[in-house]
């Protein structure tokens, strides 16, 4: 039975079938990986970071937690509304309808975080901002993208490379920055 199948697969038609199956599996896998690299859908469709940055709004205006504590935070609708209630486009644009609804109904905008780390990683924004790291060094240039994208894979090797570089010749700092317990607990 199995020998028969192999014989059939060895003839030209069989080889073509194998090729088609291989291509289908490969493209499905490639599409799956492509999907994981896409920015998630946000409650306000196609939220344009580049427009906000172009108006000269600082990162810390909407994400003030970054300089104060572990989480940078995602803005609530009242923060959006402070500016948006003075803008005609808020009334005209259909894309901004979810914001209007959120303000009227008093329901939160459920932003989907893009730059995330697993639960077993304890990341603190404040320490990184205080060490002089700029937002774009990890999060990329927000004046070029609409919904935030991760410019790199945020894995441990990437973290450690920067930590070791930051420590330089300072042995005490290197011990602290390469200690497992600094991020994992």
């Amino acid at each position: 039975m199995i020998k028969k199948l192999f014989d059939w697969l060895k003839q030209p038609l069989g080889l073509i079938a194998v090729g088609i199956v291989f291509l289908a599996v490969f493209s499905a896998a490639a599409y799956g990986i492509y999907l994981t690299q896409q920015s998630p859908e946000q409650p306000v469709p196609e939220f344009p970071h580049q427009t906000h940055v172009a108006f000269g709004i600082q990162c810390l205006y909407c994400h003030p937690g970054a300089s104060k504590g572990p989480a940078a935070g995602l803005p609530s609708q009242s923060k959006c509304w402070a500016c948006h209630n003075q803008i005609q486009k808020t009334v005209d644009s259909t894309k901004l309808a979810p914001l209007k609804e959120a303000v009227i109904n008093g329901e939160p905008l459920e932003w989907v975080p893009v730059a995330i780390v697993p639960d077993f990683v304890q990341f603190n924004h404040r320490a990184h901002v205080a060490a002089g790291r700029n937002c774009e060094e990890c999060h990329g240039d927000m004046s070029q993208v609409a919904i935030a994208e991760n410019p790199q894979v945020m894995n441990m090797g990437w973290c450690l490379n920067c930590h070791i570089e930051a420590a330089g010749d300072d042995q005490e700092k290197l011990i602290k920055l390469s200690d497992c317990g600094t991020c994992h607990y």
Binding site: P70, P118, D119, F120, Q122, N124, R126, A127, A130, I175, K176, D179, C180, G181, T182, H184, Y185
Partner: protein
Amino acid sequence: MDMKISEIKMSTEEVGKWGMVIDQDLCTGCQACVAACAMENNLSFVGEEDAGYGRSMHWIRIERFWEGEYPEVKMTPNQPMMCQQCGSAPCEPVCPAFATVHSNAESLNLQVYNRCVGTRYCANNCPYQVRSFNWRDYERPEPLPNQLNPDVTVRRRGVMEKCTFCIQRIHKAQDKAKSEGREVMDGEFTTACAQACPASAITFGRTDQPESLVSHLMHQGHGVKHLEDLGTLPNVTYFKGG
């Protein structure tokens, strides 16, 4: 590594960084520390059946012993037991995955959950029997997930865990002190068990700073470190009958 065994064993001079002093005369055995620890560190509740198998998960427990033969039994003082954060820990060298490593920065024994593969060698080699293993993904019915501490990892099945001396609080205090441009002060923060103890039987602090409260208590003279003769260099000092 050309290190001889005798050289490794004789590292008795090491000074820890964080330490604890437990006064057994003050401890009433009320279990407040056990509850506080479970809340602070996202411990699972294993339920009746698994507890029957000895799979209870506690990072701190109150031990009681009995002295003497039956009619004349005498109970010893309550003895809170948690990870002693050994300076030369028996759990560390046996881990094949390097998941339980010594923190050089904080002088603590770390348990790196994402590295742990669940061989349980460390728990078997721990003379204090203070490590607990996640035999299952224990259910947390609603609304219990709302009380999880966001600063502590929620462990999954197949991972070993143990007392961390509330390392998340250490980091929080260090971060706050650094943002204010100063050093962490003695007594500025404490572990969950010490905070909850109504009798103040548990004191936590820096043992390498001679002016700290924990250092003063440690050097009062009649303190005992458990199983010190094993060369584990524990960082918890016990007092009783003082």
